[in-house]
Amino acid sequence: MADALFESLLRLGDNALILGHRVSEWCGHAPVLEEDIALANTALDLLGQTNLWLEYAGEVEGKGRSADDLAFLRDAWDFRNVLLVELPNGDFGQTILRQYLYDQFNLMNLEALKGSTDTRVSEIAEKAAKEAAYHVERSRGTVVGLGDGTEESHRRMQDALNILYPYALELFITDEVDAEMAKAGIIPDPKSLEDTYLAAVGATISEATLELPQAHFGHRGSGRDGRMHTEHLGHILTQMQWLQRAYPGQSW
């Protein structure tokens, strides 16, 4: 049980960590000042969630690893995030669509986690769900605005959707870890959220006047079980972990 919980907490924490990293890359480069502020705020919330999930993961593991140890001292094969969050930012449209596809899932998942039989999980979800509700409102509104904006913004959003939508479906590739957590009432099986998620995304995409591509997640193995990642993850870690690796054991 502890092993499955540890794995599941890494899935939650690593998604937030890697997406937070990607979003933070926008700092100072956004299309408009309000977006600089909103993106920094989103990254900040995601890193706050990372800290809570990974701290708990370290405790569950019981080997004395802190949230920082888990974030800064694991290599790519030990990361449990979905591939969607590793993908490069692309243009702003790709960034905001990726954000929406994640936010929509994150909010539904956190809402379900509020009822977890594990009080620590439900407490973290309680706090994080408030942030996620705001994130989805913003990313959804921006996706709709850009999809139904100019010809160029529409085209760019459709391109982004064609690239990203298959990756969103990885969120529902499940395994025995999910089954064990669902059985214990700790974390819902992602599959149980799939229909509502697809309906919500479908509604947003149609309001944005975009078309959902026919797609499936084509990889064998998933970031969720660590059997698959993109080449991008290694580069993210190279940057993120550099100081900790170059000057091990220091206090910062």
Binding site: S24, D68, Q244
Partner: protein, 330 residues
């Protein structure tokens, strides 16, 4: 301080007797510390100088995201990363307050942005220096924000109401910024040999550029007199620079770091430090665009603006469609 060498458009400071009744009434309000508001009459030179000054300050907040943003993805712990993100987010927020204050003077944010990108408006010289190691993030908070606070605290009492109110909000957040910078320096200065070396190196590189933030010495500060009469500049450049040195030297000593100035000495008689002037030729070079990071900073802002055009256009077009649909439905 994020405004340096702001060109004042006044034609020398007039006495009250030389002024027309409108201007005289304006100056009397300023003298009596009554705030000037957007709708009030004001001399054209006052308005133009304020736009330059507030605009320069706003641009500095925006460009200032870049040297710090340079370390967000490499921050050494989750906590440090979050603190840095919060700080940079604050800075973008400061930019927003300041652009809004400037807009009350009849210029749009987009116009000011275009002037920044075309080089007609400046931002503080300090952001043309690179952040090379993690200790630089400490030094930026400690020294750069420290110098900014030194200037911004008196500006809370500036004569123009919207500017004064923006400064009050900004000052509340700046002291947290400076503390987090000093906290990073503490960790580094008390850390391993490599960390100490980084801390000393950061102080070496940021000391003189920080002193330059106050602008040239009073003798060469040609626009100060009118700005001080208008109370959009409260203290002289040298006065603030001295205050900054007096405050910062003991902090450096506490950290066990050496200020890179052989002439630095306590002067009992004046109750302050004697210290070396920065290299003013370097300062003017940096202002003219020849600093180590000028090109990178401006290119980054141009790229953000150009690449973001389709986003701004798209969102504007969507808002317009919604407005039209709403009107049609009514």
């Amino acid at each position: 301080m994020y405004a340096q060498m702001v060109k004042s458009t006044g034609t020398g400071v007039k006495s009250l007797d030389e002024m027309e009744p409108e201007e005289r009434a304006f100056q009397e309000k300023v003298d009596a510390d009554i705030r000037i508001e957007a709708r009030d009459w004001m001399p054209e030179g006052y308005r133009k100088t304020l736009i330059r000054q507030i605009g320069q300050h706003a641009h500095s907040e925006i460009v200032g995201q870049l040297p710090e943003g340079n370390w967000i993805t490499r921050a050494p712990t989750l906590e440090r990363k979050m603190i840095l993100l919060a700080k940079v987010q604050d800075e973008a927020g400061h930019g927003l307050y300041l652009y809004s204050a400037a807009e009350t003077l009849g210029v749009t944010r987009d116009e000011m942005t275009e002037m920044l990108l075309s080089g007609k408006m400046k931002y503080s010289s300090i952001f043309n220096y690179p952040t090379l190691t993690w200790a630089d993030i400490g030094a930026v908070g400690w020294l750069v924000d420290g110098a900014a606070i030194m200037n911004q605290v008196p500006l809370q009492r500036t004569s123009y109401g919207p500017y004064s109110r923006a400064m009050i909000r900004i000052c509340k957040e700046e002291s947290f910024h400076q503390r987090q910078g000093y906290d990073i320096m503490m960790k580094m200065a008390k850390g391993s040999e490599a960390q100490k070396r980084m801390a000393q190196d950061a102080l070496n590189r940021f000391w003189y550029p920080s002193l330059m933030m106050f602008g040239p010495s009073d003798a060469n500060s040609v626009h100060s007199e009118q700005s001080m009469a208008w109370k959009i500049k409260i203290n002289s450049n040298d006065e603030l620079r001295r205050k900054f040195v007096d405050q910062t030297v003991p902090q450096a000593e506490y950290l066990g770091l050496t200020v890179p100035d052989d002439t630095l000495a306590w002067n009992e008689e004046k109750g302050g430090y004697d210290f070396a002037e920065p290299d003013w030729d370097e300062f003017f070079d940096v202002l003219k665009g020849a600093g180590p990071a000028n090109h990178d900073r401006l290119e980054a802002r141009k790229t953000a603006w150009d690449d973001g055009a389709w986003v701004r256009d798209g969102l504007t077009a969507h808002a317009e469609k919604k407005r039209t649909a709403k009107v049609a439905a009514e």
